[in-house]
Amino acid sequence: MRNLALSLSLICLAELVLAFETEDRARFGPDNAEQALKVISTADIGFFEPMITSFLASHPDIAIDYIVASSAELMRAIRDEGHSFDVAISSAMDLQTKLANDGKAQRHSSAVSRSLPGWAVWNDMLFAFTQEPAAIVVSKDAFGDMAIPESRHELISLLRQEPERFRGRVGTYDVRTSGLGYLFATQDTRASETYWRLTEVFGGLETRLYCCSSDMIEAVKSGELLIAYNVLGSYVANRSDRSEFEIVLPSDFTTVMLRTAMIPHNAPSPELSGVFVDHLLDRSHGPDAQPLTHPVIDLNDIEPSVNRIRIGPGLLVFLDQLKKRAFLSEWESAILQK
């Protein structure tokens, strides 16, 4: 009996320890709603709120429980801990692909999903609803009348010309801790060898490493950084003080991340999830779309250099433990230069 009590308490403890970490949580819609959609997402509440508001406007009898978590925690919650959500939204395309590939997503097909362009759907499981480019963000004040680099080559030559000016004032993702940073870095290496040269140069300038785009943007605003590389352009564009920044979409190639939604395999009411996903897609695609990202970034202007990350099993490659270990060790030796 005592053993049983002990094991029960151990199980409870384990549950607590295993529970994934949430960053934020909010409930929208009527309190007495009969149906509530549980949405787990990596996007900030503020970023996603317009979508929820528009959905509730057309479905007033539904409530939405919006949970914010990091992409790694989202993965853990769904794959390892088996929590059930109605919709999972993430910017980590590789992890979303992994979830779908491993059978953690269910298929959804509707008139809306069938009308999407090919790059926006994968296997009727993953649906892209934003296109967010990785940008070079520069503080306009700090640069003054200095020429702003338009490509990675120009950035490399600028950094090489004036190393002292930029020492310690360049920032980028720490790919060891940031899933999105890792995705951007690996896709950059696929597109061009320039990435490794740039990383070598970053290494020589004691580049500062960040966990997230918002921290880098704040650092640029405060003047701590002059240049931030591979920042989510949409985060800058959605800010009210965006005019202080110059958002450079590199002209050699611009890596574009797709924020994707999926319906987890254990979603309690898949039809309702489908309705929400369709709303999401309907509002994000087509000529009358009102996307979540600010229209100041128009990918149509730079279409030839857009390197849209393709959803598919290719994304599993850099999640391979051997591959990841090799990549990280190469990256570390380039950027830390120990």
Partner: protein, 458 residues
């Protein structure tokens, strides 16, 4: 004549068997195409999986005794290039799991240089797995490295569905074409039979010649028995006609003698009763001898019809001769015999038969018309040939019996007491029809019989 009992149809049976065969073939074609498609789709998927697994295997490097696998991006992205597919892989160094999906089963039997495949279910979906292996040197000696790559089947299923539709189309097209061919074949197979039927039914009533047109070998027994049958029929007909003619001929001479003797006795006899009896006897003998004569005529006509001669006949001249020959008889009966129109017309045919026919008609007219009546003969040219018209002012044909009068031995109701056999109109009709013409019998509006012979132009 009774209609033959119908049971089945050769053409329908042929058509049905051909169609059944075509349907079976079409189904076979459908399944063959589909199975070939399945094989091709499977092979192409296997090739992609092998290429993917091979590229992973080749990316393995031995590095200071440790195995380092640098997974190529294309190894997995190529699996998704045509259709969205879930993809899985696993890398093992003998039994030691290195990377990928640890639970993914390997396809058994892979050797260095020869991949192995298997189909199974993995993570809730049907997958195809390819496994390849090669030996690598490690610090523990040479060991084998095995890579398995798996892919879901949605692309393959799409391809198969497409092929299935194509196969269905091919099968249906094949069947339609066969249907058309079967219809044509059935028709052409039956055609000789139709031809034979047509040639037999086209024949005149007295045509019993053997069938001479070429027929397919399968129909030879039928045609030869038909020919034998007709031959027997011909012989039997000829024999009976010969017999009748012979009998008539033999009866005529004794009858003539009997008549002459009876006349002599009648003239010498004094008893009025005997005179009357002898008169009746002479009348009966006349009747019999006339019948015998007509039977002979008929036999002659039949014989000549079988061997119809074709000469140019001047109808006006011929009619004139016949009328002149009948004139003594008409004068005897005080009947006014006249030819109103004699157009100059020519006809191909047998003049003796024509004479005979006309003679019969005139004979009938003179026989049935009462004294004082008149008989009128006219030969006129018509746009499409010639017409001979004989009308009298006698009692006319009994209207109810008009259609049956030309039949053999049929006589009109009003013919009682008049010598005759009932063969006259039969002979006329046969002769006219043998010359491609037709006979019309009827009554004049003002009373009296009217017979019109129509002949096509020569």
């Amino acid at each position: 004549m009774t209609d033959p009992l119908v049971k089945g149809s050769i053409r329908r049976r042929l058509l049905l068997s051909l169609l059944a065969g075509a349907a079976i073939l079409a189904i076979v074609v459908y399944f063959v195409v589909q199975s070939v498609a399945r094989q091709v789709a499977q092979e192409s998927q296997d090739n992609i999986l092998t290429a993917s697994a091979q590229s992973i295997l080749e990316s393995a490097r031995s590095f200071g005794g440790q195995i380092n696998v640098d997974l190529p991006y294309s190894a997995l992205s190529m699996l998704d290039s045509v259709s969205d597919e879930r993809a899985f892989y696993s890398i093992h160094l003998e039994d030691e799991f290195l990377s990928g999906y640890p639970d993914l089963p390997a396809a058994p039997g892979a050797l260095a240089g020869s991949p192995a495949f298997r189909s199974t279910e993995f993570l809730g979906e049907d997958v195809r797995i390819a496994s390849v292996r090669r030996s690598v040197s490690t610090d523990m000696g040479r060991r084998f490295l095995q890579v398995s790559v798996a892919q879901t089947l949605s692309g393959q299923k799409l391809t198969l569905a497409r092929f299935s539709r194509t196969a269905m189309g091919i099968g249906a097209g094949f069947f339609l074409l066969s249907m058309l061919l079967a219809a044509i074949v059935a028709r052409s197979t039956i055609r000789p039979l139709h031809r034979l039927t047509a040639s037999v039914s086209r024949r005149g009533p007295n045509d019993l010649r053997p069938v001479a047109a070429p027929v397919p070998s399968e129909m030879v027994p039928l045609v030869s028995s038909l020919n034998t049958f007709m031959n027997r029929l011909q012989k039997s007909l000829t024999r009976s006609e010969d017999f009748i003619a012979e009998a008539a001929h033999r009866v005529r001479t004794p009858l003539a003698i009997v008549r002459t003797k009876a006349e002599i006795i009648q003239r010498q006899a004094d008893d009025p009763e005997i005179k009357v009896a002898l008169g009746e006897m002479i009348h009966a003998v006349d009747d019999s001898s006339r019948t015998a004569g007509q039977l002979l005529d008929h036999a002659m006509v039949t014989f000549r019809l079988d061997n119809l001669s074709s000469e140019d006949i001047n109808l006006a001249q011929l009619t004139h001769d016949v009328v002149e020959r009948a004139r003594p008889m008409s004068e005897l009966k005080e009947i006014d015999l006249d030819t109103t129109i004699l157009d100059d017309t020519t006809l191909h045919g047998d003049p003796i038969l024509m004479q005979n026919a006309l003679h019969n008609l005139l004979d009938n007219a003179l026989k049935y018309a009462p004294p004082g009546a008149s008989v009128d003969v006219a030969v006129t040219r018509t746009p499409d040939g010639a017409r001979i018209c004989i009308r009298d002012t006698g009692p006319g044909f009994p209207t109810g019996e008009l259609p049956s009068l030309p039949d053999r031995f049929i006589r009109g109701d009003n013919a009682k007491g008049i010598v005759g056999s009932g063969l006259g109109l039969t002979i006329v009709k046969e002769v006219v029809e043998a010359h491609g013409g037709r006979m019309e019998t009827g009554n004049n509006p003002g009373g009296g019989a009217c017979v019109t012979l129509h002949f096509p132009s020569a």
